[in-house]
Amino acid sequence: MFTPHTPQEIEEMLKVIGVNSIEDLFVQVPEKHRFPELNLPEPLSEIELASYLKEISSANASTEDFISFLGAGAYNHYIPAAVDMILRRGEFYTAYTPYQPEISQGTLQATFEFQSLMTELTGMDVSNASHYDGATTAAEAANLAYYFFRGKRKKVIVSRAVNPQYRETIRTYLQGFDDVVVTGDEETSKAGYELQDLISLIDRDTSIVLIQYPDFFGRVIDYANLVEKAHSVGALIAFVFNPTSLGLLKPPGAFGADIAVGEGQPLGIPLSFGGPYLGIFTIKDRLVRKLAGRLVGETIDQDGKRAFVLTLTAREQHIRRERSTSNICTNQGLMALAATIYLSLIGKEGFKQVANLCYQKAHYAAKRISMLKGFELAFIDTPFFHEFVVKTPQPVSQINLRLQNHWILGGYDLSQAYPEMENHMLIAVTEKLSKHDIDDFIAALEEVTGD
């Protein structure tokens, strides 16, 4: 398919090498297992492939045709056309990690700009060049805390109002450290709902407290007391944030967070069924030498010209090997570029507008839904950003199945991750939905839950 060799060239090359056939180059491979016949379908030409994949994709329902109220960690935002136009430039997407600064200033400077945008957004001091996704940034935050306390603090506290997938990922990442306990988010615990319960868990054995902001239920909670408590015992505090919300809301840095991590997908990255997304990882200065992942720093070249390079690489696995705090190598470079372009394009004004639109439309939707028979807002007195929980008169999965006939993808069924939340739907509203869409949703909800 993509090998350019002509028969004549192959002949010439074999002659130079001094072997008779290509097979001769593989004699070291155990003969018994050499050149297996693979049971794969016949190869497709490009024209066949294009129609095959179009056919596969059309077996999905997508936000292309459906109105969607799904959020819960992945959000349907508008992506300006210039983002993808730039991402399609081969100079960006077919380059490797910028190990050779002289011929990688494009990637390096863009990453430096990404780091700048992320620290400004979060109110933190330092951002790395990206991590895999929101969940793994949360896990790496806990991992960082483990190394920061040299393994001496055993307790990792996680609110039950942190994205359940993130909590699972934290547990996965920490399982190698036999004596570390992850706690605070047990089903029996009310910690996700009552801040005070969570605070009371914090002690001098606590390495880190992880909370989400806005939390998984969309709520905007004042974490001042929690931060104070954590700091009073010397523990680190990590905020898992939603970047869009920071167009309006006080940033984690202003709360005193030591670490602020989050999912960058809302910043110009398509839903794409869950990936590739963008892990944002920001910290206070003093943690920089424990930070996982790449960092770009400013310097000068030998002519004195400004230049950018990967820096503090001695932290990383390719130099530090078994003594590094993380094994991350390939990160989400192109996704970080997407976020950088996105934020540059919509800028100060546009980003505020997006946040405000999300807020306003979500509140309109919440008001309308709360007036529907059998529906009720779950957390009436807590402010929320663009996501909220409603109690539904019927199981959410049932409602959602019926909504599909109305070309609507309903909100997230919370009972999937929270057994205590039967008949609770988590609804997200972004700037992509019009009032008309929301009104359609209300009408459809009324219809599918009526009798």
Partner: protein, 485 residues
């Protein structure tokens, strides 16, 4: 040609892409939580397009030229893959939709699992890991859990050849293992005696890259695996170099227990200037219930009329979730497309031509450069980027000088066991004409090293910036633009 940063370009009051006013009745904002300021740049769309267009021009890329970065498999990234990954029916699906509404995605992922199994000889594949290193993490966690389940809690030792990539030891220590390096023998194979000496009841496993990072196929690989297995350990395969083995050898067939794939190397998905990658993991039957969740599975078999119905499966002894959702679906699409376009013969052709290109280039270069291991190589090879009689010339100099000849340098200083290593991986998509031009440049540089070494020390001359002061960068630690208050 330096380009200002977005903050330097920003002009107070300038607007880019803006949004309409809300079309709903307004709700007051939550006063207590509002931020005071947010200094994002203020640029026009044009500023932004021009800025990133000009930044892009400062990059070297595969689409622009030869990129023989060893261990990275910088092959051509087919353009149709970029198209199909952007199909609205894929790109606009939310990961939490009801499964009945995402049967297309699940079908594709299921097929990809099956194909990767067939290609590698493993029993089950999980697509979720985000990159090679995360695949390794899965592997290490499986080794750990496997011994736990089998009540072998003393098995804490992971053996790693000294030629291995840094992610292998880093992964092992992240998961609570103790790393023991294994020496290579004079042929670049794992040293069998050293291995035997470490095969005791604390052995958890071995992480093996084969072909290894020297580009050499371990001639004793079956013996190595046997020894580890006999000692009760598991063998993890670092699949970064799978490109050499497509249709040539299925690692599962010779006893590897676990292996990650790098879709962004072997299966042509773009590197993106540092990612995203995708690092699916395959395992033997014995380990198949340890894989991370979810696995895509058939929930209801289909028949003539109806296609099978796909869903998620959580393995019984799973090590857990590696990340949110199901891996890098956008990358899975590209790898799927790549495999679908190749089939069995096409995949073998990839490996054959990758190995042909590497041996051809090695032959053309070896008269001027020291080849530490004089064997047929696989998809890549390592030479010394220095000469004993020229103590001032280093691999770095050669690398930088190559830029002036219009080429991306090879990987430098890795693997660590070769003095001044230059690790060269041409990949199968490069033509003989390109290899000849590169060999010519390498030969010219070898001559320059003797005749005019200053050219090498001062190189590059023709790049957007010249050698950069890395010490200063680490000392000053300027990690973001100045942002106005």
């Amino acid at each position: 040609m330096t380009e200002l940063t977005i903050y330097e370009l920003s002009q107070s009051g300038r607007k880019g892409v803006t949004f309409p006013e809300p079309d709903v009745p307004l709700t007051p904002l939550p006063e207590d939580f509002l931020r005071e300021s947010l200094h994002l740049p203020e640029l026009s769309e044009y500023d932004v397009v021009r800025h990133f267009t000009n930044l892009s021009k400062l990059n070297y890329s595969i689409d622009g030229g030869f990129y023989p970065l060893g261990s990275c498999t910088m092959k051509y990234n087919p353009k149709i893959n970029e198209e199909v990954a952007r199909l609205p029916g894929f790109a606009n699906t939310h990961p939490l939709q009801p499964i009945v509404s995402i049967q297309g995605n699940l079908y594709l992922m299921y097929q990809l699992q099956e194909w990767l199994q067939e290609i590698s000889g493993f029993h089950r594949v999980c697509l979720t890991p985000a990159a090679g290193a995360q695949g390794e993490l899965v592997g290490a966690l499986i080794i750990r859990k496997y011994h736990q389940v089998n009540n072998n809690n003393r098995r804490k030792k992971i053996l790693i050849p000294d030629s291995a990539h840094g992610t292998n030891p880093a992964t092992s220590s992240m998961t609570g293992f103790k790393v023991t390096p294994l020496a290579s023998d004079s042929q670049g194979n794992v040293d069998l005696e050293s291995l035997k000496a470490e095969c005791d009841e604390t052995l958890a496993g071995l992480m093996l890259t084969n072909p290894n990072t020297l580009g050499l196929f371990d001639e004793n690989v079956e013996e190595v695996i046997r020894l580890v297995h006999e000692a009760g350990g598991l063998v993890y395969g670092d699949g970064a170099n799978l490109n050499a083995l497509l249709g040539v050898l299925r690692p599962g067939d010779i006893g590897f227990d676990i292996m990650h794939f790098n879709l962004h190397k072997t299966f042509s998905t773009p590197h993106g200037g540092g990612g995203p990658g995708s690092g699916p993991v395959g395992v033997s039957e014995a380990l198949s219930e340890y894989l991370p969740s979810p696995i895509i599975t058939i929930i209801e078999e289909g028949d003539e009329e109806t296609p099978p119905f796909f869903g998620f499966y959580k393995p019984e002894l799973t090590v857990g979730s590696m990340k949110a959702f199901y891996g890098h679906f956008g990358i899975h699409i590209r790898a799927f497309a790549y495999i679908a376009m190749h089939g069995s013969k096409g995949l073998r052709d990839i490996a054959e031509k990758a190995v042909l290109n590497a041996n051809y280039l090695m032959t053309k270069i070896k008269k001027d450069y020291v080849l530490p291991f004089k064997r047929t190589c696989m998809h890549e090879f390592v030479v010394e980027g220095a000469w004993v009689d020229l103590p001032d010339v280093h691999a770095l100099d050669i690398s930088k000088r190559l830029m002036d000849y219009g080429f991306h340098p090879p990987t430098n200083y890795f693997p660590l066991i070769v003095r001044e290593a230059l690790m060269i991986e041409p990949t199968e998509t490069e033509s003989k004409q390109t290899l000849d031009a590169f060999a010519k440049a390498m030969n010219a540089i070898a001559r320059e090293a003797r005749e005019n070494p200053e050219l090498l020390h001062k190189a590059p001359f023709t790049t957007p910036v010249r050698r950069c002061d890395e010490v200063k960068a680490a000392k000053d630690l300027i990690l973001c633009c100045w942002v106005p208050d």
